[in-house]
Symmetry: C2
């Protein structure tokens, strides 16, 4: 490592990224460890995948917008070497084309058949006039010099001959004219070989790896790659950062953690039941009581679309329905009309707008709306199973709520859809979400693997816990006691005590530098204060002689002089 | 997320990266948590920095080789847009140059002064002959057509005139000839603008971020950026992955964790003492007893170089000395002679080759060698302080050893140098290292910040613990009990028990799919076996009726039928 001095360099971090200080790390660790503990109690096993995957693995899995947001890693070494050869070849081919064009022109001019104009026929003259060289001559000399009839032929050909015979005057003009032509020619070649100057096409040549965009695709890749070593159903959890080149905003980062639990290899609805319980268990463990676990089923949305004859408008319809809370019934209907959903269909939807009450009551209303849709009734059956099981098992602090407007990631969920919202009164988007996708691993060639999973939104949970003051005060507690450093001998004696305290798991520190003045001792006390260290040991000349320790409580100011055993029991 | 089906895609991960399964994660977590716990007991506070930094922050800090190994991230969006404009401009400028060249030739040919050869002087002829057009004509027509004396002037000029007057024949030849010229011209322009086709020059245009290469530079950046929020001395630890585009080998990865603890803002040698203790504490906690903590001091190396009059050959000298164990005394001396170290100097070094015995004895030998070097004696004083303190405090299981051949990262260490090697008998490179660097944050403009730190090599420690079978068996224990699924009703009842077990922190699972045949039940038992789940609950029709649970020990095969309270106490 060779460090060059650069005074001017003002350090900063890329937009959308964050530094975490000790308190941030402690709080984030608390959330992650709580989630992890419940994941393990529920039988999920941890896996970790590399931060970057082969681009092939990620590209094309998240739609065009997703592809755009994937961070690509430049190939290492001379990544342009192949590209360099190609671009030189390309430029030379443009130059060669230019030369060939000039040569062809020269040949045309020198062509004896053209020069031998005395014996030429009208048709041949017309052919010359419409030839490349003819057109250029006409353009250069002005259109009035040529008329497409027999009488003026001689004039035209004489002009060509005269121009040619003026030893290069024409060529001069041609070369000037040709400059513009070449630009067009070059542009055409570039368009044909646009991969060399277009970011989208160039990327695969210079980048073969990309940063993880989510944990689901790497999980699917993992399952397929290691399928022979995995016992199915495979319950895995994964807590790792992901990266997205999104425009950074308040609460939206370019690097953030995802905390996912998924099961792959079983279609049993008991999984959905367990995921509802798992959400409840985690949020209860975090003392975040009263979260709402919203549930829906893709089959119900399909059923509704079927009943109103808008199967092809499933997304338009759900996008509109999703806004019910925000814009109200009338505007939702207006939007649906705008998207071409029939008045008859909207009438059939009416009960949906007033869907209220308990889970069971809502289910009954849905049954009447969806009575004619097989898939819709299947969705209801699934929801009923989950709701009945959860009612029997009882949640600790969360509320399970049916929300037919819930659509999240409609493109890939095929069964249950989950979303968790913070307790009433806390303004925050969803703090978790998930669902079932029937073909998780098909993208990598392993068919018929149904998956269902949920995710926890670490950053938002953090903000909610902060707002509600739910972080336990103990988690940010760091060092318990600081020994003030009165000089070499005292410090050496102190370090002995510090060592024994540490062996007894007490977080203890010795201030490294000797305080030779009262002012410096004051500075060390301030250091303890600012770091919120609750106890300080004063180990001066007196104490050294008597081998005793003066322990000061930094909150109460209380002081007592004790031997080591007493010290240990006071700090333990 | 839009998933496209691609059967042919065979998933894999980039070379040098790894997937970690549940057992890997558990073992790695065990090591990291053990290290983290000791870091905290010693008063270090965690920080985390972003995975990628601004390229400016990293580039130029690790030498040319380091720069090459830094993974660069492509700018997002149309990263080539500026580059695209530049390359089109470049190509057009080549084409324009081509045109100008042709036009100039045309002008030269048409130049009346040249054509008016009758009145031309010898000097003027020579001038023409040595002009660009003259040279080309000579080359095209053959050198015998021109001789640089007056008699043949007329012939030469006649030839030129004749060529010109043959209406383009010469131009035709010129154009063909010019093709080669153009290639040279294009190459020259490319060389002038090589940033557009050279990876090294292009990178800053298309990449502004790079993946973290180590934790030290981001830490220095963090300290400078947040200096107003930090209490100094600042003791921080950081356990995060780093990325290097190194050629992957056995045991060398492109993504790996670093576990670092550093103190910045104090020159006290008590820090060095504590780091020796910290190494001892961590390896003792990992039950990895008998590691050797090797220590040296840059000042001693400087002192030796001074004494033998080879201050300018400090690196050559230490590189050679570092090989003593491997190649022996004679070859080391040979290498030193090869590097220009004097015979007199090598004689002075003699005691170094036979430096043996206890720390204290070695120190005495060094004192005699270094008696004339102020800096060398300072280094000895520092080492003595550390050794005396450690002798007083006593290490639990590690051995502190002086090793004057230890040089690691000589470029930036200024005081103590540490390296830890695995216990005797385990073949493994260093499993930890560190040292003091007097100007940690100077690169980012904050002067006079001395830092000292150590690092743990996670991957190597993992291999050593694996080889010595030191991982506690409990850490890879996952689910404690699996409930066999006999059908809907039994499963529902089972899930109730599973829920209660989980609430009591017992890791419990219900097999999600119903086993309707004996074969399927057998499959579920096998599933438990293969996942090393030690207990299985059989909850069939009988058990459902009696609300009892048949618990099977999967190791002993023993079975007992119990009520829930008994079940809980057996599994707790």
């Amino acid at each position: 490592m060779l460090w060059e001095i650069n005074m001017a360099q003002k350090p900063s971090i890329p937009k959308g990224t964050r530094d975490f200080n000790a308190s941030d790390v402690a709080k984030r660790t608390y959330i992650m460890e709580t989630i992890k503990e419940q994941f393990q109690i529920y039988g999920f096993q941890p896996i970790e995948t590399p931060s970057f995957e082969n681009s092939d693995t990620l590209m094309g899995k998240y739609g065009d917008e997703g592809d755009r947001l994937i961070f690509k890693i430049l190939n290492s070494g001379d990544y342009l070497s192949k590209y360099k050869d190609s671009i030189i070849k390309l430029i030379l081919s443009v130059l060669k084309k230019n030369q060939e064009y000039l040569l062809k022109m020269k040949d045309d001019i020198a062509d004896e058949e053209i020069l031998n104009f005395k014996n030429i026929t009208t048709n041949e003259i017309r052919k010359i006039a419409s030839s490349e060289i003819g057109k250029i001559v006409i353009e250069v000399l002005g259109e009035e010099k040529y008329d497409n009839n027999e009488e003026k032929n001689d004039d035209f050909l004489n002009i060509i001959l005269k121009e040619v015979s003026t030893k290069g005057d024409y060529l001069l003009k041609f070369i000037e004219f040709n400059r513009e032509e070449l630009y067009i020619e070059a542009t055409k070649i570039f368009e044909k070989h646009s991969e060399f100057i277009d970011s989208k096409y160039l990327s695969p040549y210079i980048s073969e790896k990309a940063l993880r965009y989510d944990l689901t695709v790497p999980f699917a890749r993992y399952v397929v790659q290691h399928q022979n070593d995995i016992e199915f159903p495979f319950k895995r959890y994964q807590i790792q950062p992901v990266w997205r080149a999104d425009r950074p905003q308040k609460g939206r980062f370019r690097e953030f953690y995802q905390c996912d639990a998924d099961v792959v290899g079983s279609k049993s609805l008991f999984q959905e039941v367990e995921f509802v319980q798992l959400y409840d268990a985690v949020f209860s463990a975090l003392k975040l009581e009263g979260v709402t676990i919203k549930i829906n089923n893709r089959k119900i949305l399909s059923g509704i679309a079927e009943v109103i004859g808008a199967q092809d408008k499933l997304i338009d319809f759900t996008v509109a329905l999703d806004k019910l809370d925000k814009i109200g019934e009338d505007k939702v209907k207006e939007e649906m009309r705008g998207k071409g959903i029939s008045e008859d269909g909207i009438t059939k939807l009416q009960p949906l707008f007033t869907l209220k009450g308990e889970f069971g009551e809502q289910i009954e209303s849905l049954k009447s709306i969806l009575s004619a849709s097989e898939i819709g009734l299947k969705g209801i059956e699934e929801l009923e199973f989950i709701n009945t099981a959860i009612s029997n098992l009882e949640l600790k602090t969360a509320i399970l709520q049916l929300d037919v407007t819930l659509a999240r990631g409609l493109n890939y969920y095929t069964g249950a859809i989950f979303e968790v919202s913070a307790p009433h009164g806390v303004k925050m988007g969803s703090i978790g979400g998930g669902g079932r996708y029937d073909d998780l691993t098909g993208i990598f060639g392993l068919k018929d693997m149904s998956g269902v999973g949920i995710s926890f939104g670490l950053d938002r949970i953090y903000l909610v816990l902060e707002e509600l003051n739910l972080f336990p005060s103990t988690i940010t507690e760091s060092t318990k006691v600081l020994f003030i450093n009165f000089g070499q001998d005292e410090a050496m004696f102190s370090l002995n005590a510090v060592t024994k305290l540490r062996q007894a798991q007490v977080k203890a520190e010795l201030f490294p530098d000797a305080a030779v003045s009262g002012k410096q001792r004051k500075k060390q006390m301030n250091y303890a204060n600012r770091r919120n260290i609750p106890f300080v040991v004063i180990m001066g000349e007196e104490e050294l002689k008597s081998e005793m320790y003066t322990l000061k409580n930094m909150v109460s100011g209380e002081q007592q002089t004790v031997n080591f055993d007493q010290l240990l029991s006071l700090l333990k």
